[in-house]
Symmetry: C2
Subunit: 137 residues, 2 copies
DNA sequence: CGCTTAATTGACGTTAACGTCAATACATGC
DNA sequence: GCATGTATTGACGTTAACGTCAATTAAGCG
């Protein structure tokens, strides 16, 4: 019996080794193990060896995007919880909604900062282009 | 002679103590000294005491915005250089333009990530709202 | 089955970005 | 002119996020 293929729809292409994921995302295996130790991903095991499914691959994508946005791993951890929150009970759903909203306002604030920075740099760009015209004429 | 008031247009309201800035930006004086040690700001001195001008105050604003966007201090340092680059020579201006452009593409990539994250959360928000309707009906 | 390659665990190292003293100097109001 | 508050300069401590290395274990293969 191949216990890891127990679930019918689970094929080989849905299973990843630590090295495959490390390679795909250009991170080290150490980093992946570190994320597991922080509870950000929870791969299965075959014996002692980790086996990653789609869910963990997706989580890795979310983690890396979070990092690119400058969030800490603990913020990312909170963020990931939003993706598998329990919404069978109204109180839970209400709670989820609040957390989603607060996260949204963080992201929107960051977007404002970003847009200001972009505008400043675009102004610099334009200025530099004008200068170049003068200087090379 | 009050050397620090030498420049005619420089009034008291353009000068800040370390505590004033720390207070205004809700950071510690240690943080400000740390930024100085990294060359991010270069306050004047009256005796041994630091005196900050508008320029450094502005730089602090840029530093903090950079941090909110998730940039490291060394990235922020590069970023600050764009603001006081020499553009008297065409080669310098050309170089500045390249750096501005590369920074712009970083920011735009980040903006894409941000917008995807916002959309995902908005979808969650909508879903949660629908769930709540069902659950409380 | 022995060899090579891949994976695991534990321990210690490292870098960034400050925090936290402690000792000392400066300034200032009463 | 002295107590009291503010500033400065080391020096060491701390946390996050991994890197690095060594010792084992497990897995594939000719």
């Amino acid at each position: 019996m191949d216990r890891i293929l127990e679930k019918p729809a689970e094929k080989k292409q849905d299973l990843f080794s630590i090295a495959e994921l490390a390679d795909e995302f250009s991170i080290s295996t150490r980093t992946i193990r570190f994320y597991e130790s922080k509870g950000l991903i929870i791969p299965d095991r075959v014996g002692t060896t980790r086996v990653f499914r789609r869910r963990d691959r997706t989580r890795l994508l979310l983690i890396l995007r979070g990092k690119r946005l400058g969030f800490s791993l603990s913020e990312i951890s909170d963020y990931l919880e939003l993706y598998d929150a329990d919404n069978t009970q109204a109180t839970q759903t209400q709670h989820l909604l609040e957390r989603v909203n607060s996260r949204l306002s963080m992201l929107r604030a960051q977007k404002e900062d970003l847009e200001i920075a972009v505008k400043e740099l675009e102004a610099m760009q334009e200025y530099a282009l004008q200068q170049l015209e003068k200087q090379t004429s």
